[in-house]
Symmetry: C2
Subunit: 270 residues, 2 copies
């Protein structure tokens, strides 16, 4: 792999890296931006479900990154630029000096995901269902925890933001790129299909009678997480086994990513 | 309480609210900025350990906030301003429309905190020790979890950022304002003093043999958290009981605020 030096920020080859912040908001037709060494490491690892398409790094980082970059497929161009040119391409001060364009995996249907999982009936298996999670930090945190505790996949309803948004990928420390993801319109329908496939679906909600610490997971468990403000719709909670996280009096408030970490730890090893 | 309408952003009364973002970086001699309704609610609640000094809100929020503002002490001025004047005072677009100046509690020594806690010897008690936590999001998250799971206090070493930084307070949903806080120079000395007072100190570290899920807490427990990058110094880990959080293979990575949530949940109810 021979890197290509870019001296002109308007060079046609680096157009996909232009004005990252503005374009974060518009989507990229199956592509995404990865930034930083941790995420690039995941993108180039065998565990990644995504394909790298191009890599752009600051010249000064070339020598230290070379061993990592040599893991990239041969047809992935690596561009080098001075910090100044890099900043002008990206449209902001890119301290980390590492960007990549990746291609999202083809969207799987929930049925296909469940079929594939179903091929190994003896394993204990955890899925995460996110409903209406619109905050990219929380989305990234949920994926990070899903990967840390070995969840087999994440299922998003239509109210969720895109986990391939740059910040969500970064907060997930790359977990978004190696986790099977499914999108289905409504959490109600997701719950129905999971239950039909033998999953016990836990709705994490402060209103629950049963406490997480008392719950003993079944071999196939899915945990359903709602956003912090509105929470989960009551009709969906009613479909599930509602489970709460016991807290100290007077301050019943957990961040949803923290909630996912506590619940997944309990499912996996509690 | 009669609100005072401010039409001139240079009015002397609102100088403490000027250019918030720049001044976040410089400290405020015992004062801090609180923003948003959730945090203001805590600041004005009986649980707060901090005193409100002044409140500045957008005119349009006056009617809905009135019942809350009537809980403020009578000598705390409430200023109203149009959104435009408010933005000019704050130096940025203040959508939330709610700011307050608060006074930090007097700094307690660790000995005094432990003395006060020692007065109730039969209660189960959890403390959090933070070492080198420099990220305000993580600091806020740790405080939020400490409050959620009833930790009696948070002890910071010299490597920690200020939890009264605006963003840390916001992320903590106000928990920073109602949690006893102590600062001591080194985590090594903090551990020594806690142990001398009968606390079992757990060092949360991936290198540990013992897993959190297998640990049964003693009546007085402290959990020691280090930053994600460098982690805890080995010499400090050696003073403590090292405990790890078991994870799936190949992705051993948890955010430190999530770690605090999982550990505190386990201490409190595991």
């Amino acid at each position: 792999m021979t890197p290509i030096l870019i001296t002109d920020p308007d060079h046609i080859a680096v157009q996909p890296f232009r004005d990252i912040k503005e374009r974060d908001l518009t989507g990229r037709e199956g592509l995404f931006i990865a930034e930083g060494e941790v995420v690039l490491n995941v993108l180039l690892s065998p565990a990644s479900l995504c394909e790298p398409e191009a890599i752009l790094i600051a010249e000064k980082r070339w020598e230290t990154l070379r061993p990592l970059l040599e893991q990239a497929p041969h047809d992935v161009p690596v561009y080098l630029a001075s910090q100044e040119v890099l900043n002008r391409i990206a449209g902001f001060d890119l301290h980390r000096g590492i960007l990549a364009i990746g291609r999202k995996p083809e969207m799987m249907s929930l049925d296909l995901m469940l079929d594939r999982l179903g091929a190994k009936p003896d394993e204990r298996r955890i899925l995460v269902v996110a409903s209406g999670i619109g905050n990219h930090d929380n989305m990234g945190g949920i994926f990070r925890n899903a990967a840390a505790f070995g969840a087999a996949g994440v299922i998003l309803d239509a109210g969720c933001c895109d986990p391939f948004y740059r910040k969500a990928i970064r907060v997930s420390v790359g977990a978004v790129l190696r986790t099977p993801i499914v999108r289905e319109p409504t959490s109600g329908e997701i719950v129905t299909r999971l239950q039909a496939n033998g999953y016990e679906v836990l709705a994490l909600t402060p209103s629950a009678q049963m406490q997480l610490a008392d719950y003993r997971p079944s071999p196939r468990t899915a945990i359903l997480l709602g956003s912090e403000g509105p929470g989960l719709p009551q009709a969906v909670i009613d479909q599930c086994l509602p489970v709460g996280i016991r807290m100290a009096g007077g301050f019943d408030s957990l961040n949803v990513a923290v909630t996912s970490g506590i619940a997944l730890h309990q499912m996996a090893f509690g």
